[in-house]
Every structure is written in C-alpha cells, then in structure tokens.
C-alpha cells in the first residue's frame, strides 16, 4: 500500500515537468511552419537594430534588415513590412514603399492562423505568438501613407478606398463604441472629392475633419476624453460601477455630462479650424509636403506580471528639417494636430487582449494561493493525506507559475510622433524641393526632390525626411542644468568654441571583445564628457563653453551669431581586448568642427582612442574616459584643427 502510494507520487512528479512537451505536441499545427516564441523574440531583437539604423538616418541598413525579416510568413511579418515601407519612404523610394503598404494591407486581410490565435489566448500561451495586425492607429497610418502615395500617382479612386478603410480601422465598426478622430483622413477624402468635382462630398468630409480637429485639439482633448469616460461609466451596470469604486449616480453623471458638453462647445467655438487648417480647409492646394516629427510612443509592460501594456513617450525633443523651395526657405507655419500619432496611439478604446490577460493573471494568483494553502495545510495534517495535499499544492503553484500573462509589446517603432503638413499652391511647372536635417549645428541628410506641377487638377505629395532622433544621446531625455560655474564660464568666454552634448550615446554602452566574448558595460555621463572636452581644450589655450540640448533647439541662432565653430563628438564604437596581463579599451569617435552658420564641417576625423590597464585594475568607466582623452589628444594635434581654430 505504502509502495503503491509513493509510486503514484513519483509518477505525478515525473509527469508534471513533461506536461508542456505534451501541450506543444498537441497544439502543433502541421500545415504551417510553427515559429516559436523564442524565434519571434529574436526577430524583434534584430528589428530593433533596424530601428536604430532608421533613427540614425541609415536607411539603407534599415531596409536591409527589414527586408531580411520579411522574406517568409511569420506572425510579425505585417509589422516588418510596414517598417520596411517606412524606410523606403524616408529614402524617397515611393514605388517600393507603396508595394510594402499594399502587402501590409493584404496581410491584415488574409493572413490568419487560428491555431496560433488559440494558443495565444490559452493560459499557457504567449500573447506575442499571435499574428501581429497592429493597433487601429497603426493600421490607419499604414493605409494613410498608402493613400498619400496613390494620391501622388494620381490614382484617386484607390487612394479614396484606402482612406475609407483607414477610417474604418480607426473606428470601432463592430460595437460602434467610438468613431474615427483622425483629422487627416477626412481632409484627404475631402480633397479627393474636390479633385473629382464632387463638391457635396467635399463639404461633408471637410465638416467631419473640422469636427475631428476640434475634439482632438490640445485645448479640448482632455475634456473630450473625460466626457467619453463618463459616457462609458453611464453605460456600465450599477454593480460593475460599485465594484470599480465609482460613486456617481446616473443623474449625477448626466449633469456632469451636460456641464462637459457646454465646456466642450465653448472651447470648440474658440478654435479657428478654418485658419489653422489653412489651404487644406478650402482644398485649394496642389502640393502637399508631409514632415514626420519626433518619435511615436512605444509599448512597454507594466504590472507585477508584466501583463499590462502602456504607451511610453520617447521624450528626446528633436528639430524638424529645414525646407527650401526653389532655393528659398519655406517660412510658413505647418498645419499641425491633424495626424498626431501619439494622441491616436494613446487614446484608443479598450484592447480585447487586456481582458484576457487579466483573466490569466487571476488564474495565476488563484492557483498560487490555493497551492500555498494546500501545501501549508498538508504540512500540518501529516501522514499520506498530508503529503498528497502538499504535492497537489505544489503542482497548483507550479501551474500558476507556468502561466504566461505577459502582454504583447510589438509595435511600429519607426512611426513619428506626428506628421506636420504644408499645403501649398505652387505655380505650374518644375520645382526643386530641398530638405535639410540638422544634427545640432551640423547639416545632415540633405535631400533634393524635383516635382512637376502639371495643372490645377493634380496634386503632388512629397515626404520629408524623418528626424535623426536616434543620434541624440538618450541622456538628453532629461533636461541638463548647467552649474553656476558653467554659466559664469560661458559668459566670460565671449567667442569660444561651442561644445555640444556628445551624440550617439546610450545609457549603457558595451565594450565588445571579438576574441574572448568578454563584454564590459559602462554608462557614459554626457556632462562629464563635455567637462573633459572643455578642460582638454582649455589646457591647449582654446576657449570653449557648453550649450545644452534644449538650448540648441530653442536658441540656435543666438549661439550661431556668438560663435563661429562648434565642436561635435559622435560615439561610433567600443571594443576591448585582453592579454595575459592587460586589458585594452578602444573607443571610436567621429569628431568634427562645424561652421555654426552654414552647418558645414570645417574639419572632421574618425579617431580611435586607446587606454590600457593592468588586468586587476581595469574598470570600463575609467577606460572609456581614458579613450576619450586619447582621441581628443589626437584630434587637437591635427594640423587642420589648429588651422581651423585660427581661422
């Protein structure tokens, strides 16, 4: 009897760890190549590298990566096709971009894998295993970009169809909980109707666009969101409301809604949509310039089981490109708040997956709690019954631990924070449009496009270059405050060299070793690097002062008129090598002296600084600053540096 009982217990204990294997076998889909969660994760790591290239303006490298990720069918294919399309767009390759957005649309419509969906929804499946289709804002933006490309080609019918589908994607068509509030979708539909001579539909869509513009305007959006919350609360049952801790009664809610409606009406009337939408209101434009600005928020996991998704803004402020038309600087104010991706991403209705994830967490908590009680009680009961209870308790706790409630955080990370637009009415004929992106004082990514305005009833669409957000150090997210000493120093240094914050730095940088795979991490301090540069230059008789990230963005012209030259450093690589006695650190920097007025590089050089320590005394942070000093020493010793400074 005793033996039989123990055999049963041993059998259960052996069987338990093999359960996931059985689960995998049962759930495998024989018709399709089943890509594992690990592989999907690995693809995301590779995609992140592509995204880094994209935000640094290295579009060819980004295209290479996203192309490789889009060869065969897998759950994240739609995402990478969208990002590939976006990279082509940045490069000005409209034909390939169009192909990508069409493929993305087709994939959303046709790529289905029921087994995978079931697995993602099950207690032990991972949400990231499901096929990525994108949030409504991602689907709508993909179709918006497609419609703009079709509009440029003169394919108005298909552009209109894409815009209508985008509007549907952005609204809750199944439960009718909310309508689309993407202003640009309606503005473009209005324009197409005007081009087709359909004045009634032009006015209809323009009015819808004005309504969208007003409710999503920064002055109104928070009150409008509050109104939606109240309506949602009014729709919930009294029991649910009580459970959620909401105390307001129906009549109180109705009164609050009445007050909010009055407020919204008052604020909306104060918004002059006609003036703000400029030529887009009348539809009298033949050239549309679209400028992507900043970076869209990304999804991150929250909650004790990483089961909740929230959007987190990427907060480094970056400049928008300068635009020249036929050599003249375009000084008009852009149309804003019509394609605010950040707003669209963060204000959608509740996700279907959220409720399911909450269910998974509840299952985990319940299983673990029951398991704990059984294990503890089993210990007190004793005997066979006690042991059985303990074993069952452990199994229950283990089952709880095996639940995977982590939320899917895949999202389109190469989208901008918003699109700014210029709706222009250019004279017929050839025109040259020139974009110039700046990296602090240095002019980068200059792109020139030739357009031909044929007649009044046509439209040309031009996409500007995305910001170089990936080049600015992530430490610049937080505002840098200069000390009193730094400020006094700056005042004293009348016409010195401007030291900008170093570029291309991550919060954590790694010294990689190609031979030993011995990686060391360090966290470079932007301020300390600037101090090192200043002290180094001072020692060599070159007066220099600091300018912060925000100061360059807001007061660039002021500093340009004060100092002719800026010193800019970009970190381009770190490496380490170890021998039996020493560790050698190597850091490569792109150093440049930039003309603050023209943005041209006066003198630039890629330099590798080296620093060696005895094995027991090596420290990556010290190693990094040693390399910086070594690189600086090489740079200032160059004849061209001395000549440039003297000029």
């Amino acid at each position: 009897m005793k033996n039989r009982f123990f055999k049963t217990i041993v059998f259960i204990l052996i069987l338990f760890p093999t359960l996931p294997i059985f689960y995998q076998l049962v759930s495998a889909d024989n018709d399709k190549v089943m890509i594992s969660f690990k592989e999907i994760n690995e693809m995301e790591v590779i995609a992140d590298k592509g995204r880094q290239h994209y935000w640094k303006g290295e579009y060819h490298d980004a295209i290479k990566i996203f192309k490789n990720l889009s060869i065969y069918e897998h759950p994240s294919l739609t995402l990478y096709i969208n990002e590939l399309g976006n990279s082509y767009l940045a490069l000005g390759d409209y034909a390939n971009a169009e192909r990508c957005f069409i493929k993305s649309y087709k994939l959303i419509e046709t790529y289905v894998d029921h087994k995978r969906e079931e697995k993602a929804l099950s207690k032990f499946g991972k949400e990231e295993e499901k096929i990525y289709r994108g949030d409504p804002y991602e689907q709508a933006t993909s179709l918006l970009l497609l419609s703009l490309l079709l509009l440029d080609k003169g394919d108005y019918d298909n552009a209109l169809a894409a815009l209508k589908t985008a509007t549907l994607s952005d609204s809750d068509a199944t439960e009718n909980l909310y309508d689309s509030d993407y202003t640009l979708l309606n503005l473009l539909q209005a324009k197409i109707h005007l081009l087709r001579g359909d004045r009634d539909n032009f006015i209809k869509h323009r009015e819808m666009a004005v309504e969208n513009y007003r409710v999503t305007h920064p002055d109104v959006r928070s009150i409008f969101a509050e109104r939606l919350d109240k309506i949602a609360l009014l729709k919930t049952s009294p029991d649910k409301r009580k459970k959620d801790g909401a105390k307001a009664t129906d009549s109180e809610l109705k009164t609050q809604l009445f007050e909010l409606d009055k407020k919204i009406k008052h604020l909306s009337e104060a918004i002059d949509a006609k003036a703000s939408l400029n030529a887009m209101y009348d539809g009298e434009y033949n050239t549309l310039i679209i400028i992507p600005t900043g970076r869209a928020p990304i999804k991150v996991r929250k909650g004790k089981d990483a089961q909740v998704v929230i959007f987190e803004g990427v907060n480094v402020d970056v400049p928008t490109p300068k635009i020249f038309i036929d050599g003249k600087n375009l000084n008009s104010t852009p149309i804003t708040n019509v394609a605010d991706i950040e707003f669209q991403a963060t204000t959608r209705g509740g996700r279907r997956m959220d409720a399911i994830l909450k269910g998974k967490v509840a299952f985990r908590d319940t299983s673990v709690s029951i398991g704990k009680v059984l294990t503890e009680s089993g210990g007190q009961v004793g005997g066979y019954a006690g042991i059985t209870m303990q074993v069952i308790g452990l199994i229950a706790q283990g089952a709880g631990g095996a639940v995977t409630p982590e939320a899917d955080i895949r999202c389109w990370k190469t989208l901008p924070k918003s699109y700014e637009l210029y709706a222009l009415n250019l004279p017929e004929g050839e025109h040259k449009i020139h974009f110039e992106q700046h990296l602090y004082f240095e002019a980068r990514n200059k792109i020139e496009k030739s357009i031909n305005i044929k007649n009044k009833d046509s439209i040309v669409v031009i996409f500007g270059i995305p910001s170089l957000a990936g080049m600015y150090s992530s430490q610049c997210e937080q505002e840098m405050k200069l000390s009193k000493k730094d400020l006094v120093d700056r005042e004293k240094t009348e016409k010195g060299l401007i030291i900008t914050p170093p570029l291309g730095l991550n919060k954590i940088e790694r010294f990689d070793s190609k031979i030993t795979k011995d990686i060391e991490a360090c966290s470079p301090d932007v301020k300390r690097m600037m101090q090192e540069v200043r002290e180094f230059l001072k020692k060599r008789g070159v007066p220099a002062y600091f300018v912060t990230h925000r100061e360059i963005l807001n007061r660039k012209d002021e500093f340009s008129s004060r100092s002719q030259i800026a010193f800019q450093v970009v970190l381009s690589g770190l490496e380490t090598e170890t021998n039996s006695r020493e560790r050698i650190y190597r850091a490569s920097f792109d150093m440049a002296l930039v003309n603050t007025s023209t943005g041209e590089k006066i003198f630039s050089k890629s330099i590798t600084g080296t620093n060696t320590y005895l094995l027991n005394h090596s420290e990556p942070t010290k190693g990094f600053y040693g390399c910086l000093e070594s690189a600086l020493s090489q740079f200032v010793s160059e004849q061209q540096f001395i000549q440039s400074i003297n000029l």
């Binding site: 969660f37 690990k38 994760n41 790591v45 992140d48 991972k126 991150v300 996991r301 929250k302 909650g303 004790k304 089981d305 990483a306 985990r364 673990v368 398991g371 704990k372 294990t375 303990q390 452990l394 706790q397 283990g398 709880g400 631990g401 095996a402 995977t404 409630p405 982590e406 430490q475 937080q478 840098m480 405050k481 000390s483 009193k484 919060k507 954590i508 790694r510 010294f511 990686i519 060391e520 991490a521 360090c522 966290s523 301090d525 420290e619 990556p620 942070t621």
Partner: protein, 200 residues
C-alpha cells in the same frame, strides 16, 4: 521601589535614544531655494548582481537558484555594480540639481546612496518551483548629511525597494530595459521622499 525607578529610567533612556535615532525622511524646508552646494555619490553597491527567490526551496531550491543565477549573469551582459552605481549617480544628480547646486568637491550637503542589493527576484515555492514572473529588484537608501565644522550630521534618510517586472522569459534586452526602469523608479521614489518639503 528601587526596581520600579530602575525600570522607569531604563524606559526613559530607550525612548530618548529611539527619538534621537529617528531621522527625518526628508530634507528640512530651510535648505531649499538657496542654491546650497551638494555633492552626490553612491558609496556602497555590491559589484555582483544577486539572484533572489522566496527562499523556501530547500536544497533542491538552492540548486535551481544557482542555475537561474548563472542565467541572470549571462543576461546582464557585462553590467556590474559599477555600471549601476554610475547610472544611479547620474540620474539622482539630474533630479537634485533642480534644487541644489551640485558640485564634485566637498559641499555643505552631501547625498550618499547605499545600494544594499540588486539583481533578479523570482517568487518561488518548495523545490524552487516558480510561482510568478521574474522581477528586477533594487533595494537601497539615500542619506543626506550636513557637513558642519568637518563633522557629518545626518539630515535625512530614506530607504526604498523597487521591483520591475520582466515577465517569464527575460532576455538580455528585457533585463537591461527593466534595470533602467528600476533605477528610474528607485530614484523617483527616493527623491520624492527626500524632497517632500521642497516647494515645486
């Protein structure tokens, strides 16, 4: 009678000592808005990350934890105590410089951060069976000293423990992201506590 007096005096001493030992959690209001100089440093921080679990796993649990600990070190990819120290110092400096003049030399005030423990935490039960998601944990304290006549007096002290979820399968990227978020969370909590009396 003597015994009663003896007990009473002992109690009084305990109460007085306890009162003296209770340090306020925030910097007194008179130190704000005067651009007082402050130095910032992380004084203690274990060089190696530590793997922590619920601790009821017994010998089997220890063996399992050793495996998980080695996995943690791989996923840290070169991140050591010195990296964490520098990240915390930079972030704390950035937050404190809005209220004080931060200097690298000896100052009137000095903020010293002690990191007691950092690394992965996993809720477990007997035999090291996992019952929840991995978390990145940082536990530490911040003490602000006033330097008077070459002597350091404790002005305020606060301790914080933060956990950042990493899910069931933390990768290298997830670990790094969680660590950066844990640092931000740790600093936000500790700074909001220590600057409670500062006017915005």
């Amino acid at each position: 009678m003597t015994k009663r007096y003896f007990l009473l005096s002992i109690s009084a001493i305990i109460f007085i000592c306890y009162g003296c030992a209770t340090v306020p959690k925030s910097i007194p209001v008179e130190f704000f808005n005067k651009d007082i100089e402050m130095s910032v440093g992380v004084t203690k921080c274990p060089e190696k990350p530590q793997f922590m679990d619920s601790g009821s796993g017994g010998i089997v649990g220890l063996v399992v934890a050793a495996g998980r600990s080695s996995e943690m070190r791989t996923k840290m990819e070169g991140i050591k105590g010195s990296t964490l120290k520098e990240l915390i110092r930079q972030s704390i400096t950035n937050k404190l410089e809005k209220h004080f003049e931060i200097v690298n030399t000896q100052a009137i005030l000095s903020a010293e951060i002690d990191i007691h423990i950092w690394g992965w935490f996993l809720p477990t039960t007997s035999f090291g069976i996992k019952t929840g998601s991995y978390q990145f944990r940082i536990s530490g304290s911040l003490t602000v000293f006033e330097n008077k006549n070459g002597k350091k007096e404790v002005l305020a002290k606060t301790s914080v423990v933060v956990n950042q979820p990493m899910g069931n399968d933390p990768t290298k990227d997830i670990t790094q992201e969680a660590m950066l978020k844990a640092i931000e969370d740790f600093n936000n909590k500790i700074i909001s506590e220590i600057l409670r009396d500062a006017k915005p």
